[in-house]
Every structure is written in C-alpha cells, then in structure tokens.
C-alpha cells in the first residue's frame, strides 16, 4: 500500500520545550489515520507539521524529514502555498470567516486566481454537496456564515477545504465542539470522504477513532508509542501503555 507521508526522525521544539521526539511514521494514502493520546502529548503539533502551520509560530524549530509526494517539505524553500493547496486543514473550533457562506467556500480558489462566476457557482454547489450541507443552505448562500449552527459551520469549513480539491485533509478534533447529532453527521461525512481523500484526524474519543479510522497512532509525551491497524490497536495492542489508554485505565 502506498504511503502519502513518510516522517523520519522528526523533532520539534517550541523554544526549549521538546514537543515531538524522534518520530518515525508513514501515513497511508486514501486511508483514515487517527491520532490519539492524552492532552499535551503533541497530536496537534504533529498534525500542524504536515501542512507547515507551525511556520506561523515564532521560535518553533523542526528537524528531520517530512516526505510528502517524494519531496521533503521540511525545508525552507519548499513552496508552502502549493503544499497547503494539497493538504487542507479543519480546526477544532469551527472558524468560518465573517463573510457569506458563498464567499467562505470560494475563498481558497479565489486566492489562487479563479474568478469565473460559472465555475465558482458550480464549485460552491459541488463542495457543499460533498460536505452534506447543500440542502440546508442552498437558499441562503449569501447570508453570513456566522448565522449557521456550530455543526453547520464545521461542515462549511470542510466544504471550504474540499473546494481546494486537496489530497489530504487534516482534522484536529473536528467534532469536539459539537453536539452528538452534528458529530454523527460529520462522522458519516468522513465515511464518504475517505474514498477520495487521505484523512488524518486527531480525536479524544476512542469510539470515534474505532468507528472511523483504518489506522491509529498512539502518542504519549511527544513520542509515538504505537502505530498499527485500528483493529489491532483496540483489540490487541503490543504495548501495555496503549492498552491502558484505549481501555481507559490510563493515568
């Protein structure tokens, strides 16, 4: 099976704080990989390495190789804009722009210079349909995105990411701020999305990880303790620490 990301000897420091330690992991193409682990163990930090979002943080040093599509993206000269076009991200808290629903969806493509109204219209409909939001908003595309419910906002953020036609979608606890019904909708959505995209998702919900992911990586204090098929991690993990964590006996 093909790997989309190959990470070799990754180390990350926030100033002097050694947040990621000697990580080696290969993420599978067109699969859902879940990152689990206790708070502060570096899941978000790791995820943000994959689209170089840590560039925005002053004093953050990253060493090692992050190979995406046969290129090491962890080098200064790598074109981050091209990377982020291919590796999209959905955040923990829904963060639509304070603009209309329509403008939110076309934001990324417009930044790339796409202006043809007909193409944009089509893109909006297509992306919102893929994000299972079209039926709920098709009559009010020009109203503010902030008028949507939290769950709808999060699906809008997914639609906005899909509109870029990425290869990979990174999701950092995308349902932690949502009610169970919205959560279920987004989980169903991921089920359909995984046919076309590689998904890497951080989650604190063991059930969610077990339900939706093909692979699971268990993080602990800046290290990857175990990485395997989700079935194995949850039924027969190799490490005691993993077993303790997934069965809730941790700490």
């Amino acid at each position: 099976m093909e790997d989309i990301f190959t990470i070799r000897d990754l180390n990350l420091y926030y100033g002097k704080n050694h947040a990621l330690k000697n990580m080696d992991i290969a993420l599978k193409k067109n699969k859902v990989t879940a990152l689990i682990g206790p708070s502060g163990c570096g899941k978000s930090t790791f995820l943000r390495c994959l689209n170089r979002m840590n560039d925005l943080i002053e004093n953050c040093t990253i060493t090692g190789q992050i190979i995406y599509d046969n290129d090491n993206i962890n080098v200064e000269k790598y074109n981050v804009i091209e990377l982020r076009k291919k590796v999209g991200m959905v955040f923990q808290k829904p963060n639509p722009f304070p603009m209309s629903i329509y403008e939110n969806v076309i934001y990324g493509p417009k930044c790339q210079g796409l202006t043809d109204k007909a193409i944009l219209d089509e893109l909006v409909e297509d992306s919102l349909k893929k994000a299972a939001l079209w039926d709920e908003v098709k009559d009010r595309l020009n109203t503010s995105a902030l008028s949507l419910s939290g769950g709808q906002q999060q699906r809008l953020c997914i639609a906005r990411t899909i509109a870029m036609d990425p290869d990979v979608i990174l999701m950092d606890e995308p349902t932690s701020a949502l009610d169970p019904i919205s959560t279920k909708k987004i989980e169903e959505l991921m089920e359909t999305l995984k046919n076309n995209y590689t998904i890497v998702i951080v989650t604190h919900s063991m059930q969610q990880a077990a339900r939706i992911s093909d692979y699971t990586a268990f993080f602990l204090m800046g290290e990857i303790v175990e990485y395997d098929l989700t079935d194995i991690i949850f039924s027969n993990p190799a490490q005691q620490q993993t077993e303790d964590y997934v069965t809730g006996r941790f700490g």
Binding site: N51, L56, G88, F91, F97, S144
Partner: protein, 298 residues
C-alpha cells in the same frame, strides 16, 4: 446570604445612578456649549445670512463696509482635511497591518513604543518640525516665485497627516490584534499568502475598529488649530495652489478672537457654528460608510 445580596443590590443601584448622573452631566455641558455658540453667532448669521457667509469669499471685518465671507476658509478646511486624510489613512492602516500581522514581535514592540509616544506629544511640536523642514525646503526652492513663502497649505497638510498617523496606527493595530487568530490560520491553511490574508480577511474583520481609528484621526485633523497656524501662513487665499498660504476655520477663530468685538466677534462664533456643521457632516459620512460596510458582509 440574603443580607449580602441586598447589599450588592444597593451597590448596584448606587453605581447605576452615578453612571446616569455623569451621562446627564456631560450631555448637559454639550447642550450648553451648543446653545452658547449658536446664541453668540446668531447676530452675524442674521445680519449676513448663512449662505452669504459661506458663499462670500471676502473677509474684511475691519473695513468701513465689513465683509464676513468664509468661502475660502471653508474650502481650505475641507481640502486640507481631505488631502491629509488621503495621505494618512492608507499609510496608517498599512503600517498597522504590517505591525500587527507581519513584523516580528521585537520589532513591533519597539515601533509601537515610539508610535505611542508620538500619539501623546502636543501637535504644536509637529508644526514646529514641519516649520523647520518642509516649510524651509519650499522656501529655499520656491522663494523667487510670487506668493511662495514656505508657509503653505502643503505644509499644513503635512502637519495634519503626520499628527494623525500615530492615532490611526495605534487604534488600527489594537483592532487588528484583537481579531480572532483562527481567521488567520484558516486563511493560511487554505493556501492564501500573507497579503491575501491581510486584505481579504484581517482588514475586513477589523473593519469597525479601523473605521473608528479613521474617525478619531479625522476628528484630530479637523479640529487642529495651533500647529496649522504655525505653518499655513494664515492668509486668506483661494486654496488652489498647495504652495501658497491658506487660513482654516479654526485658525480664523484663534487669530482674531482676542481683539474682536461686536458683529466681528459674532462672526467668529458663526465660524464656529459652520465648523461644527462641517464636523457633523464628516461624521455622518463616515457613519454611513461604516453602516454600509457592516451590512455588505458579516
């Protein structure tokens, strides 16, 4: 427990009435000022007519047939205000965007330290600075041209633009800093670059704060008197040439009030009324712009 809530309820009532009193007090003072100025300016307005005053270009209060035309001063005030804002707004807002969104923390801190000092120094100092620089340059290069003495509308505009910049920058930076960081993250994660993020997201999201920065800057500019008098030449001219002296409405009041009496004095109060109306119009325009910006998105 119950006694405690009663106590805090009393406290709340006390503070509420205190707030109410101070609002009434400041409202009353404003009202008295307006009444006073209008009453004092009324004789001149009645004698010459409001439109005669703003459409007549002749100001000769001490002639045997005195004239109280403010046209040139109204125009000088409007033009110098608009041109200085035209310079200060883009520079101020772009500097704020750089400081808030692009500059490394250390550089931002250092620059903001000085900008905040500049926002606090008296505007006469800016006048003094322009007097020794721009006015001198204009004089040195143009003294053989008739009417050019260095003191000019250009110098006044420079002073106004310069003195409003620190206010526009600090208020804009504050509002840009206050917008949710997650907007920036979303924008970058969608493949936008810094410039796109600033123009498409940040400046839009911080629009209200930036508008109030502009309103504050405009208020400073239109009311400025001493610094302008220092460099404008203070002569009543049609403001058609940037290099020639002009007089603004505020300068007119400040220059002549000390010795004016009778109808002349009333005409100076009327100048104040017209300035007051101009400020109202300016604020109204800015408010409409803000409202329109507010409904088109968000």
């Amino acid at each position: 427990m119950l006694a405690k809530t009663k106590k805090s309820e009393k406290k709340r009532l006390l503070f509420e009435s205190l707030y109410r009193l101070s609002v009434i007090f400041s409202g009353l003072i404003l009202f008295i000022i307006i009444i006073f100025i209008f009453a004092s300016g009324f004789p001149a307005l009645k004698e010459y007519g409001f439109f005669e005053m703003i459409l007549n270009k002749e100001w000769s209060p001490n002639a045997t047939d005195p004239q109280f035309g403010l046209l040139y001063m109204v125009l000088a005030t409007i033009i110098s205000t608009l041109l200085s804002l035209l310079i200060a707004i883009p520079i101020g807002v772009l500097s704020a965007a750089y400081l808030s969104k692009m500059a490394p923390k250390k550089i931002k801190k250092t620059i903001m330290f000085f900008v905040e000092i500049l926002a606090g120094i008296p505007s006469v100092i800016y006048g003094f600075f322009i007097l020794k620089t721009l006015v001198k340059i204009i004089y040195d290069n143009g003294k053989y041209i008739e009417g050019v003495s260095g003191n000019s509308m250009l110098a006044a505009i420079a002073v106004l633009a310069l003195m409003s910049l620190p206010t526009i920058i600090t208020v804009s930076v504050t509002s840009l800093d206050a917008i949710n960081k997650s907007y920036d993250e979303a924008s970058y994660a969608l493949g936008a670059n810094t410039i796109q993020t600033i123009f498409k997201v940040d400046l839009r999201a911080a629009r209200l704060g930036i508008m109030s920065a502009i309103v504050l800057g405009a208020g400073k500019v239109i009311g400025e008197t001493m610094a302008v008098m220092l460099v404008s030449g203070n002569a009543i001219n049609f403001p058609g040439n940037l290099l020639e002296p002009v007089r603004t409405l505020t300068s007119n009041i400040a220059t002549e009030m000390a010795y004016a009496s009778g109808l002349h004095q009333s005409a100076l109060y009327a100048t104040g009324i017209i300035l007051f109306i101009l400020i109202m119009i300016l604020n109204y325009i800015l408010l409409v712009v803000i409202k329109r910006g507010g409904t088109s998105d968000a």
